[in-house]
Symmetry: C2
Subunit: 262 residues, 2 copies
């Protein structure tokens, strides 16, 4: 699995997936209530895209593992595992907003190796081949590099929704928001991509599943950033997430959260 | 000023404007602090786009009025007035998010006649020629029509930021959010465009300037929707805004706000 092979296969998976998502974006789509307790729409696009991605992986790498949101795990103890979230940001998708994305990660021995965040409506594809990170849009390709902002008070934060933070996490999150120069909401996986590209400096979120973050870790880290949980431990299993442009910003975020949570 | 002439001139203004905005989007841009009290970035893109739009209008319609955010009003008492906000959603622009837009409205005798919301990064152009509303993306053109959702409890709301509501407006806004099925943040002018296209059902915001809403009124109303202030009066001067897919939803929003504000 060298970088070039990973890269071309990631592109292929995105093409296959977007054939299922784009025709259903902004169409009249059926929305199920997946959680009886709330509103968690899951669309036919989600299921069909995951099936299409799984089919390609199983055909090409039959000994690899596959973990996805919508269907059962396959071979989860394999050395190489693919982790799929065909539509991260299903609420944005339902609203017609272009901040959802298709997330596909490749893990080796439980650690993130490579991944892609594809936004087929805008035509943007942010990915890491395990060595470097890139953004392609049409024929344009550029290497990604995180920002060199080192002071949290001049930093820009993105987060999906301030309502995601449970009572015990609110103070920590709010302290970071209060310190930052600017915070914008509504960003889903798109926010992490903008950290990788150096456009913004951090994302702070809570309660993520592994498939919500798996692909984004190598994209940000191969661009110079760092992704951990709120205690500075591995983010590869999901949980409460801090994604930062660099180690200095990351330290200030963790310290701010720790002080506010006492 | 027939519909066809308006339409072709709006397209021309968008082309001229995007030549100033797109090269500066996601580039390293200078950000001024326009308000000493807060963070209201205004970019070179904003100024240059407005200058370019003003130049075209003045050349083509020298007797028309021009009102814009960045420069002095010209001939504001003319029968026909153009109202310009070259980058609505400057914060989104600074963050690299594609929900900002170029807003250009044409008023006749103080009333909105036609307008456009152009998002040149995604290639979407939502506009009204004074008769009907359309979305173009590349060669694709379709007529816009608002949703037929008539029950607020099944409706989707978009709004830019829950922090925009001052203390006396919070209860009214929150009551609407509590009734809706789903609310998403971070949408700027893009949210109004998604009401016009029938993708979502309402936007509730506060403290808008006339140039923030002028272009969006005809786009939504020629698609079947309704835009007023929170008391049901004209929105054409800005203020606290309700944009709704239809009259039934609009009535429920106004009633919900009024009840919560007592």
């Amino acid at each position: 699995m060298n970088a070039s092979k990973i890269e071309s296969f990631l592109h292929h998976l995105c093409e296959v997936s977007s054939q299922q998502t784009i025709p259903r974006f902004r169409a009249s789509i059926g929305v199920d209530n997946k959680l009886a307790s709330g509103f968690d729409p899951v669309t036919e696009a989600d299921k069909q895209a995951e099936l299409a991605i799984r089919r390609e992986i199983a055909d090409t790498f039959p000994d690899h593992g596959i973990l996805g949101e919508e269907f059962d795990d396959i071979n989860p103890d394999a050395e190489f595992c693919w982790i799929i979230d065909p539509i991260d940001g299903t609420r944005s998708f339902v609203c017609g907003l272009p901040t959802w994305g298709t997330l596909i990660a490749l893990y080796q021995n439980g650690k993130p190796l490579a991944g892609v965040m594809d936004q087929p409506f805008t035509g943007e594809r942010y990915y890491s081949n395990g060595k470097k990170s890139y953004l392609t849009k049409g024929d344009d390709k550029r290497e990604l590099s995180t920002s060199d902002t080192t002071d949290l008070t001049t930093a820009i934060m993105l987060t999906t929704d301030p309502r995601i933070f449970s009572q015990d996490l609110k103070d920590g999150y709010q302290a970071v928001e209060n310190k930052c120069l600017l915070t914008r909401y509504g960003t889903d996986c798109y926010g992490y991509a903008l950290v990788a590209s150096g456009q913004v400096d951090l994302v702070v979120e809570a309660g993520l599943n592994n498939f919500d973050i798996a692909a984004l870790i190598p994209i940000i880290e191969c661009a110079g950033g760092i992704v951990t949980d709120w205690q500075g431990k591995s983010a590869s299993g999901g949980g409460n997430i801090v994604a930062a442009a660099n180690r200095k910003i990351h330290e200030q975020i963790l310290q701010t959260i720790a002080e506010a949570s006492n």
